[in-house]
């Protein structure tokens, strides 16, 4: 593999074929020339990269537990400030926390909120695969409406997940941090630009990165980039930034594709594409349209 690409995260990890997590780690970490310390919540990224006695991390790394990436990062960053002031640490160091959607939207929300509110200087990256994929695909509050998951299985009598995704971007924005952005592993250049911006912004910053999961969204391993692209092309996953409270949309679809295109590419939505559930698909499309209109308004896009 490309030496520069793998200088902070080595190949040989055990993530699934067609998983976007390594690409997210590499893109984010390579967006700075400063030394980086990584903080990682329990999840797919952690279990596939630190199987003792091996590690993929060529930078200092700490994994604590599932729900405390924010608080752990706060501790590392605070220690840095003290030791820097005392002259015991000389270099400028950046801090990046990675956690999945379970560790961010759900069990880690309080810890993240505290770290953001206190203004620690770090970047928090949530790789969002819309469920508890490391434990086999259970529903999280990032799982979309209508998805069949292991804890919300669809049946002839059940639509699957009946709840709507939590808007974590709005929750994070409520902490008045200077920079946060929604990105997508299928749009690597956009992710790189956002990671650079985030790492150059003092104080807490946040990236929400869509990470299609081949195993539990149920599509062929070769398709993760295509699935990711469809998510943005259908406005299911718009790319945008909130910089000092100002919204910027990074990819405006002149002609968004219908949501069916995204749904039919994944078996987790298979049950929706039946005559019986036509109304459900319409409902999903309407909600997306409303959300997109709202986002455009926030970004002053006509």
């Amino acid at each position: 593999m490309n030496k520069k690409l793998t200088q902070k995260f080595a190949p040989g990890h055990s993530s699934c074929a067609g998983c976007g997590i390594p690409a997210i780690a590499r893109t984010v970490l390579n967006a700075t020339d400063d030394p980086v310390v990584v903080i990682n919540g329990t999840g797919c990224m952690e279990v596939t990269s630190t199987l003792y006695p091996y590690t993929s991390w060529k930078v200092p790394y700490i994994h604590n537990t599932f729900e405390n990436a924010g608080a752990t990062a706060a501790g590392v960053e605070t220690a840095y400030r003290v030791l820097k002031k005392k002259g015991k640490v000389k270099k400028n160091i950046k801090f990046v926390a990675f956690a999945g959607d379970g560790g961010t939207y759900d069990i880690g929300l309080q810890s993240l909120s505290g770290a953001l509110e206190r203004g620690h200087d770090f970047l928090y990256v949530c790789y969002d695969n819309q469920g508890y994929m490391n434990t086999g695909g259970q529903r999280s509050s990032a799982s979309p409406y209508g998805a069949s998951t292991e804890t919300t299985p669809a049946s002839s009598k059940d639509i699957g997940n009946e709840l709507y995704r939590k808007d974590i971007m709005q929750i994070v924005a409520g902490h008045h941090i200077k920079y946060l952005a929604q990105a997508n592993v299928a749009h690597i250049e956009d992710l790189k630009m956002k990671a650079k911006k985030a790492l150059n912004t003092p104080g807490p910053t946040f990236l929400l990165v869509l990470q299609p999961c081949t195993n539990l969204w149920k599509y062929p391993t070769s398709q993760y980039v295509n699935i990711g692209k469809l998510a943005t092309e259908t406005n299911f996953w718009p790319l945008y930034e909130i910089e000092n409270g100002n919204y910027v949309i990074n990819y405006v679809n002149k002609k968004p594709k219908p949501i069916e295109d995204f749904l039919k590419a994944q078996k987790r939505f298979k049950h929706l594409l039946t005559d019986k559930n036509k109304e459900e698909v319409k409902k999903i499309q309407n909600i997306l349209d409303e959300k997109w209109a709202k986002l455009k308004k926030l970004a002053s896009v006509k």
């Binding site: 030394p35 279990v47 729900e67 220690a79 002031k85 005392k86 206190r118």
Partner: protein, 388 residues
């Protein structure tokens, strides 16, 4: 070193904060809970005057307090915190991470009962709930010991590469003003020295992984190493204590036998009740009774051998627990039974439980325990003091 020592009157919380001022830790992450508040409030005032270099992280929960401490300690900073009761219970998950990652975090505990029903007063249920977590646990009898144990505990933790809890009795010690003798700042500074971990996250040129995945081929080895580190704490305690004696003139062992020489009847207790029990022993000794007190100082690791040897000469023993272990023997009692086995002591050991949720314990109650021992009134079951 007698020079420069100061006599002060402080609460247990104030004494802990005074020791922390002298230690000058790099980071404190803490969340308020009664009766721990005097520790963190006093220290916050000290920090606000910039009498220390410490950064305080006012976290949003105890779980985050310990998580932040883990991050900070792994990063290479000398790190402290303080909690009580529900706070320690909430930390339960992450205190195991702290010890498993071998981080020498110092945690002051103002021991308090656990809900339900909610109760803010003293007992040892919180710290007993953490007894298997891989932390060193040191009990303090009074304000002087809180001060001394804070300094000793920090050094012992760092020397052992294990985290340590220094425990005071909630309200009884944390909020009561007592006289104590403090050590000059310079002496404490020299005693604790500079914190230089072998591996730390901010050592950018030598990257390390903290908190890897350990499968069946490695996990057990990590745990056995951890237990071996725990067993080394006894020797480390002796070394630290010797050095501390030179500094302070105060001589501490892992347990304190009070008039146990020639004692036929011994009561075993931990925490502030030892002070009351000493008065009772004095009174009964004056009356010609051969009684003594065994005060537990180091609870984890538990000094079975030393205790077994002291108790082997007694005839009757009573263990007083300030906590229950539902469905089995009270925690300290269980340990003492094991200590007796260690020394092949076959005499009868009685179990008493007292003071739960702050119920008062009086000298007359302890006197009654001794009377039971002397009259041979042993009972197989546990006896609850203060319950009719």
């Amino acid at each position: 070193m007698k020079q420069g020592k100061k006599n002060k009157a402080l609460t247990g919380g104030g004494a802990a904060a005074e020791a922390l001022r002298q230690i000058n830790p790099d980071v404190m992450a803490a969340y308020p809970i009664t009766p721990q508040t005097p520790i963190i409030e006093t220290f916050a005032k000290i920090q606000a005057e910039r009498l220390v270099d410490t950064e305080i992280v006012p976290v949003e929960s105890e779980h985050s307090a310990m998580s932040t401490c883990i991050g900070s300690s792994a990063a290479g900073a000398r790190t402290v915190t303080a909690t009580s009761s529900q706070g320690l219970a909430l930390m339960n998950e992450v205190i195991y991470v702290a010890s498993g990652t071998r981080l020498p975090i110092l945690m002051l505990i103002s021991a308090r009962a656990l809900s339900a029903p909610i109760n803010i007063h003293c007992d040892h249920s919180d710290v007993m709930g953490a007894r298997d977590s891989g932390w060193i646990q040191i009990f303090s009898e009074n304000v002087q010991e809180v001060y001394d144990n804070t300094i000793i505990g920090l050094k012992l933790a760092e020397k052992s590469e294990l985290p340590a809890m220094v425990i005071m009795d909630g309200f009884i010690t944390s909020h009561s003003v007592e006289n104590l003798e403090t050590i000059p700042d310079e002496g404490v500074k020299k005693f604790v020295g500079e914190y230089k971990p072998e591996k730390y996250l901010l050592d950018i040129d030598n990257p390390s992984v903290f908190g890897p995945v350990g499968l069946p081929d490695s996990y057990m080895d990590f745990k056995v190493d951890q237990e071996e580190a725990m067993q080394k704490v006894f020797d480390n305690f002796d070394d630290v204590s010797d050095e501390f004696k030179k500094l302070s003139g105060r001589d501490y062992d892992v347990v304190e036998g009070y008039k146990t020489d020639g004692a036929e009847h011994i009561v075993v207790v931990a925490g502030s009740t030892a002070g009351t029990a000493k008065d009772v022993v004095d009174k009964l000794r004056d009356g010609g009774k051969k009684v003594g007190l065994l005060k537990i100082k180091l609870f984890r690791p538990f000094p079975h051998e030393k205790i077994g040897n002291i108790l082997s000469k007694a005839r009757n023993i009573a263990v007083m627990d300030r906590a229950l272990s539902f469905g089995t023997n009270a925690p300290l009692y269980s340990e003492i039974i094991n200590s007796c086995k260690f020394s092949s002591v076959s005499h009868y050991v009685s179990s008493y439980v007292y003071g739960l949720g702050g119920r008062d314990i009086f000298a007359k109650d302890i006197e009654k325990v001794f009377e039971d021992l002397i009259s041979g009134e042993t009972s197989k079951g546990v006896r609850y003091i203060g319950i009719n």
